[in-house]
Symmetry: C2
Subunit: 235 residues, 2 copies
Amino acid sequence: MENPKAYIFDVFGTVVDWRNGVAKVCAETFAQKGLSFDPHEFADLWRGEYQPAMERIRSGSRGYVPLDLLHYENLERILENTGLASQFTASEKSELNRAWEQLPGWPDSSPGLYTLKQQAIIAPCSNGSIALMTRIAKFADLPWDCIVGAEIAQNYKPHPDAYLKSAHALGLSPGEVMMVAAHNEDLHAARENGLKTAFIPRKTEYGTGQTKDLEPNDDWDLVVGSLLQISRYRK
Amino acid sequence: MENPKAYIFDVFGTVVDWRNGVAKVCAETFAQKGLSFDPHEFADLWRGEYQPAMERIRSGSRGYVPLDLLHYENLERILENTGLASQFTASEKSELNRAWEQLPGWPDSSPGLYTLKQQAIIAPCSNGSIALMTRIAKFADLPWDCIVGAEIAQNYKPHPDAYLKSAHALGLSPGEVMMVAAHNEDLHAARENGLKTAFIPRKTEYGTGQTKDLEPNDDWDLVVGSLLQISRYRK
């Protein structure tokens, strides 16, 4: 296999631990308000609205809006469903929505990216916006060379545009780019669009009872246990 | 003045020395071919086609195409005009066009950006594409947090879109963003669109006989002699 000229990364789950990050900010916010709702349950409910919200855009029934807005709308829905809506002003909801900017990297993420950056272009190919990816990178010390993904493509993964327009923005053909993800579905879509694929299991992304994406479900070009291992596979 | 939340930078001339960078690659290429054309004169001719090529897009008579393509078209024109066209194959022209990816930073650029990155978001707001900015950043060690500018805006500076859509992509209002440039015209446009402004003279960008942009021609919010000085003006 030729060395990829760029590695593009799923971020939520693959590079950062969104569940504990969101739950931490929710826990602090709920404590300040004297609310007793379980913060991990709240994070799971919030994330549960993620795919349906994007699907309306992928299907064409809604034009592209950045994930920050979808997160905000989803937060409003979850606050209604949990009976907490009356406890939050609009500005408090906007502040809570910034939980998604405060996501810690997995222990190997930052050092793995610093190492790989010496050898190739590295960039997020996430459904998060440029603004959101920029702030997560600051928070988790992720030394991206640039940011591609949903906002560049004006569409959400796994729509083909998200992969093809990202490769194009890098000035590369799809086959020169490797998609790195903890989610088999993301890699299936990347491969269908001609990208190389690397799987890294993140077995506690959804907590200790996680049942999906524990193992690769296809013959991905690379399977690694840590982002630090990727550079070892270069010739 | 409130501290800017992000600093966005003109790149060609402000952060990198395009003229000596392009001339160096041209000199090497011409030497290999036994051509005696002056490489700095060639760089100046090539850059001379820059504004007319973008103006066709700013005026709406041509849709957005990335600067890499304009550079290639301009190269073909200059090779014709100088009688050198027959000396270059298409792939050799593509290779020479990559001169724009190999531009050295001014001595203060990389250390200045590393310092400022600790305090705020830093990003290029250049007419160069994401692909081009990514490669220049690798070459000159420019630690951008993300890349905004012409490709995000799908239009070229000084069109208002280039500034307003860049601020929007950062999740900020124009007044929260400071534009840093060695060109007064760039800052006039940035100010008209509500951005803060910082001028840094680069008195040899066009060689030792430079006559323009030697001094600020308006009361810019900041005037500095080195990118290392910007962080000193934060409260």
